[in-house]
């Protein structure tokens, strides 16, 4: 399986490629929009801020390439951390920016209202809760630990698809899948064997 990890110039792409290659996938990075639609699967990683990442994606024409691969050719995509957030409609970080629009809702800063002493970012292994038919979590039990590092989150409003949650001060969307759209707020490539199982499920889906 040819997997392209989308490179928009901002992040640590090696960890994701390393984990996918370990599982046997033919994974590499690319920043060339012409190559993106030809991959069998895409991974959209991410560090940095929502706004600068979306701008970097657009400057390179990678947003259109992703839409062509996913919307027209039906290729599957996995967004990781900020890459997951970028699948949403909107992100409020740094003044706000439109996302790729696959998930309803806006990605916002964690609310500290319930607990002013809540430390941010949310860093570490936390439990992820999901339904037994969530394809990304096949072979795992609800409550499995995954590694998070983020300060912005998407709330689980009324959205279609499989929504996994986690709780840190409030309950937020920790993973998502619907058709060929997959996303994880945590870092599966950094979540020990639980993350490798999830990535294998994505490759096999």
């Amino acid at each position: 399986m040819r997997v392209i990890v989308v490179d928009y110039g901002m992040g640590n792409l090696w960890s994701v490629v390393n984990a996918l290659q370990y599982l046997g996938a033919n994974a590499r990075t690319s920043d060339n929009p012409a190559e993106i639609p030809d991959a069998d699967a895409l991974v959209l990683p991410g560090v940095g801020s929502f706004r600068s990442a979306m701008q970097a994606l657009r400057e390179r024409g990678l947003d259109d390439a992703i839409h062509e691969a996913v919307d027209i050719r039906g290729k599957k995509i996995l967004g990781v951390c900020l890459g997951f957030q970028m699948l949403a409609q909107f992100g409020t970080e740094d003044g706000g920016e439109r996302g790729l629009g696959y998930l309803p809702g806006a990605v916002e800063y964690f609310a500290r209202a319930s607990d002013p002493s809540l430390k941010l970012p949310h860093i570490g292994f936390n439990r992820v809760y999901f339904s037994s038919n969530a394809p990304l979590f096949r072979g795992l039990e609800s409550g499995a630990y995954f590694y998070f590092v983020h300060s912005y989150r998407l709330l689980p409003g009324d959205m279609p698809g499989e929504v996994a949650t986690a709780t840190y001060g409030e309950t937020f969307v920790s993973a998502y899948s619907r058709g060929n759209i997959f996303g994880a707020q945590f870092h599966p490539e950094k979540s020990q064997t639980n993350g490798l199982i999830l990535l294998r499920n994505f490759l096999d889906s």
Binding site: W14, A19, Y22, S117, D204
Partner: protein, 271 residues
Amino acid sequence: MLRKRIIFTLLYDSGQFVLSRNFRLQKVGDLAWLNRNYNFSQIAFHIDELIVLDVSRGPRNLQGFCETLRTLSQGCFAPIAAGGGIRSVSEARRLLQSGADKVVVNSALFASQTLVNGMVEAFGQQCVVGSVDLKRSSTGHYVLHVENGSQAIDAPPAQALEPLSQGLVGEIYLNSMDRDGTGQGYDFEMLSALPPQWSTPIILAGGVGNSQHLMAGLQDHRVDAVATAHLFNFVGDGLAKARSNIVSSGLSLADWPALDSLALQGSGSVS
């Protein structure tokens, strides 16, 4: 429920991993030594995170450090933070391209806000770990040190660390120079030297000699992660044993299935 983390710190000086005692270094061995004595690809599954610091006392060789990092990261599916002597955003980017997920900065926190801000802008605040070295003066006050502990900062920690308490960095690595490598346990009083209203995650370091010391750190409500850099105290399967000791005494840590039970390598769809 968010679990606290156990972090293993590797200290690197010019191609060798070293043991540090009060910031004086003793060379222990190279990557081959580490693999022989730690079976590193297995050990990485018994920690929550890895930190690799280039503490070279002579001129640093970034290329060599990045190659070591790349090798370490190949069998490691846990987060890795790396740093030591980073002087520019492009140097930080090279660490991130070599397997690091986060970059650790120390001297630049107090010398070059431009560099820290540049890193935050490029990679996000969650990607930057502030390394804070504290040493007690003869009068009992804590004094901040930079440049591998060789230079003192005049301003008191509660003042100089204020930007770090307000989200300049994603977390701090708080290390006791007095306890470093002594095996006497953590210095919890250091935590009182931080500014009040602290809301940045804290990794506590310096002084761990055994799993009870790690446990004491995990039980302190101000601490978010505990680290040890002692290459000899946890040699062999010491880290795995420490983790299981801590869990058997009733503290919850994150868990995941053992790698051997899964046959994951090369198992993903390759059609």
